[in-house]
Symmetry: C2
Subunit: 465 residues, 2 copies
């Protein structure tokens, strides 16, 4: 007997939480920390606030022990802009709800990370999450909340307010079954690597023994904030065009194009419309369904659109990357390569690669540290495009770097849309344009290291003589 | 200015269609074929019908050419049980809607594959999908349908009925931008490999040149159908327990356990309840929130639950695997290993591994053919647990198999829940229990091949003497 049912987004990810990075207690603890910290950093940067983020992990009562697992109380607090009270329940209690569904670089993009951490905590300990936020500097709202998983909506158990001392910010406190013993190293690496790419943030980690690890602000220089951008013609499909036409008030196709597409001016619009066989003065809403398809295919064929302008992006920049690498890895030598902007499927991206060599901290061998939109990627290295490039597409021998040399390669990709292959943001797809840029950047830094080693070798040779 | 929005499931996968396997035109064509064929095979098997599936790929009009891409009309038809008219629009026009949200082995599990193929077609060509289905053997319903992506619901443009000649079945015809040139080899491999594990199916592929490739039924023997099973205690979390309690009519915890848990009888229930510190006669609905958590933790700690019974599963079996391998690979030697049932997180699974050696079809070197719930997995091999086992965890030298020997290793995993790492069903996670079973099965078949080669080598030696 075949019976049908519909499930909500939260129900789908409850059943398939492996897809979102909640596959076992140690991984779930790691992913929960990651998702909440990234929310705090996104919020601070979006409001141009120098981030202060605290992550406290406290062991739950001994009685809650279950084998290797234990209840942990995870509290992430920030000095960010806070969330308005009316949005607070949905922001954290609904999957596919958020403020990052825009064409703009940010760590978050799926509208579900924070919600999933809360969902996982709830299904393992049955405890409500406590969220506090102050948006106006006057009133702090505190909610105890559960998620109705079958309905994908928040259930508020308690809502209190009190006066704020003028500060804004958000704090999320949840209780989950985790495995800190297994997760500890990964969590510490996550914070250390976050500090490498976010040296303007003050971050502290308090572990279950009460030990405080501070990653202090190394600089007050922040990268210019990313901005929202219009879609590029190469990224437009039929659905996207139909929606733009529906919303459009433009009275001509030429005006429609300059108003809606990234870097398309009057001249380019006219050239394209003549190439595609449309009247530049035709009304957008007069396009038939066949016209819409013809228009979209022509958009992808036309070769004279300017490539996406990456001024909407916010790369780390050499100064910040250098400061972060020096502070956290303390190497003998650093070199960097920042590639010119590129794009895949109309989405602009910038690749920045750094190499750190020597010093007391870096172990022998080549270690790859991957970042995307300032998020450290600590899992599934072998599946990542950066790993593929470094292992399969670089001819290491030509750089004459000793096999046991202590090396760290740091790759950062920023984009309006990072091509993650999984909802858990574990690794990047091998888009050809991305692969090419990573390859060129890696060759660049290996040449620089090679030169340094040759010079160093000959200097030491001179000394001995 | 921070603005919030909520998006529907179809909107989420429209924006993030890479996650579902629709990353480029050739991959999208492949994934569309895969999702629709798997729906047909699932439906036939569920109704105990010997499957007849036709996949026709016709080139669209020359005028629709756009670079390497072209419009293709993809039509998949089957002799399955059909879909009732009232369910037809939602089955294909809504993401997170389906009949496979049960604890039962089937190819489908996410409730979105067919819908995504239709969505992708629509956003590339703006053409409605045409679906025909006959459920009662009397009336064929034909719908032309679009998906309202922002609302995640079907929009019916046309609905006609006509008399059926007594047959049931379903046909889906959609028009999408694809790249058959690039996808052809993968699509052909998909059908060839599907024939290996489904030798009781009649499958035909008609390519854009009109060429027909038939994979004819090799046997009428079908594996016993899988059955739905109850959840195993090791797979229960707090949310699952709360729901079972809410639905429960049971008057005692002991009755509640035997009624709801897999392979838990009165004795085991009593033992567990005393271990966990509960009254066996207590009413399930009397459990407090703390009790629920205590109950779940104890379920995972109790060591005397019988392991999941795999009688609900439907492995290929040696006969079918042998028939499929012989027919499609025509090797000189075949060996097989069917592992005893195992489980991960309370989900039962069975690993079956075959090895094929020699003959004219198998090229030199080791080729891995992976299957899960009878689906051929043709992408992301390097990320799969089977690849990891074969490359990193097997000591090939001890089997003395020549490096250039022509070998194919065929792995099949069946489970009530296949641990895919992606929505696109590309590869399996390296769950420790799964890894262990694949390793043992692989060693088993390599021993058998090794013995065969030794015997063959000594016989040839005898001949020469
Ligand atoms: N600490 C915070 N400060 C301010 N706003 C926050 C904070 N945490 C979450 N939010 C808001 O809640 C929304 C939902 O967060 P959530 O993590 O679920 O999704 P996301 O960050 O948008 O995307 P992703 O799933 O990729 O993380 C965010 O978009 C943001 O607007
Ligand atoms: N050819 C068919 N014959 C009968 N029923 C079908 C057929 N195709 C689809 N269905 C029904 O439509 C439902 C939705 O199909 P869809 O492919 O979207 O999801 P699914 O198969 O349940 O899961 P998955 O996303 O993993 O494929 C199926 O569960 C099934 O009930
Ligand atoms: Mg987030
Ligand atoms: Mg399906």
């Amino acid at each position: 007997k075949v019976t049908y049912s519909e499930i909500s987004p939260s129900e789908f990810f409850y059943r398939n939480r492996d897809l979102a990075g909640f596959s076992n207690p140690s991984r779930a603890l790691y992913t929960s920390v990651r998702e909440l910290v990234e929310n705090s950093l996104d919020a601070c940067e979006q409001a141009s606030i120098l981030p202060e983020v605290e992550c406290k992990i406290e062991a739950g009562p001994e009685a809650s022990k279950a084998g290797d697992q234990l209840q942990f109380i995870l509290t992430i607090s920030d000095n960010g802009p806070g969330i308005e009270a009316k949005h607070l329940p949905n922001a954290f209690g609904r999957v596919f709800y958020g403020s990052k569904y825009k064409l703009k670089q940010s760590r978050g993009m799926f509208g579900m990370g924070g919600t999933m951490a809360i969902l996982y905590a709830q299904i393992t300990t049955n405890k409500a999450v406590t969220i506090s936020s102050c948006f106006d500097g006057k009133i702090i709202h505190t909610l105890d909340m559960l998620i109705d998983i079958q309905e994908n909506k928040p259930v508020i158990l308690r809502h209190e307010t009190k006066e704020s001392d003028g500060k804004t910010g958000t704090s999320v406190r949840l209780t989950l079954m985790g495995d800190y013993l297994r997760a500890a190293q990964k969590i510490q690496d996550y914070f250390k690597q976050t500090a490498v790419v976010t040296p303007y943030a003050d971050i502290s980690l308090i572990d279950p023994d009460g030990k405080v690890t501070k990653y202090e602000r190394a600089t007050e220089a922040t990268p210019p904030p990313p901005t929202e951008t219009k879609p590029h013609p190469y990224g437009i499909d039929v659905e996207a065009l139909r929606r733009l036409i529906k919303l459009s008030q433009d009275q001509s196709l030429a005006k429609f194009m300059t108003a809606n597409f990234h870097r398309v001016g009057d001249k380019t619009a006219e050239k394209f419309l003549s190439f595609a066989g449309f009247e530049k003065s035709a009304k957008p809403k007069s396009l038939s369904n066949e016209d819409v398809v013809k228009f979209v295919n022509a958009l992808h064929q036309f070769e004279e659109f300017l490539p996406p302008d990456a001024s909407c992006l916010s790369p780390l920049g050499e100064e910040i990357m250098n400061a972060g690498i020096m502070k956290e890895l303390q190497p003998e030598f650093v070199a960097m390569s920042v590639r010119p902007p590129s794009a895949y499927s109309g989405f602009p991206f910038i690749v920045e690669v750094g190499i750190a060599y020597g010093g007391k901290q870096i172990p022998q061998g080549v270690r790859l540290l991957r970042f995307a939109n300032r998020i450290p990627l600590l899992y599934d290295e072998a599946n990542d495009v950066a790993f593929k490039v470094i292992n399969d597409e670089i001819d290491w021998k030509r750089y004459r770097i000793p096999q046991d040399a202590p090396i760290a390669i740091i790759t950062h990709v920023c984009s309006t849309k990072v091509p993650y292959k999984t909802v858990g943001k574990e690794y990047l797809a091998d888009r050809p344009e991305l692969e090419r840029e990573l390859k060129n950047a890696t060759r660049d830094i290996l040449r620089k290291l090679s030169t340094f080693l040759a010079r160093k070798g000959s200097m030491e040779f001179q000394k001995k003589k």
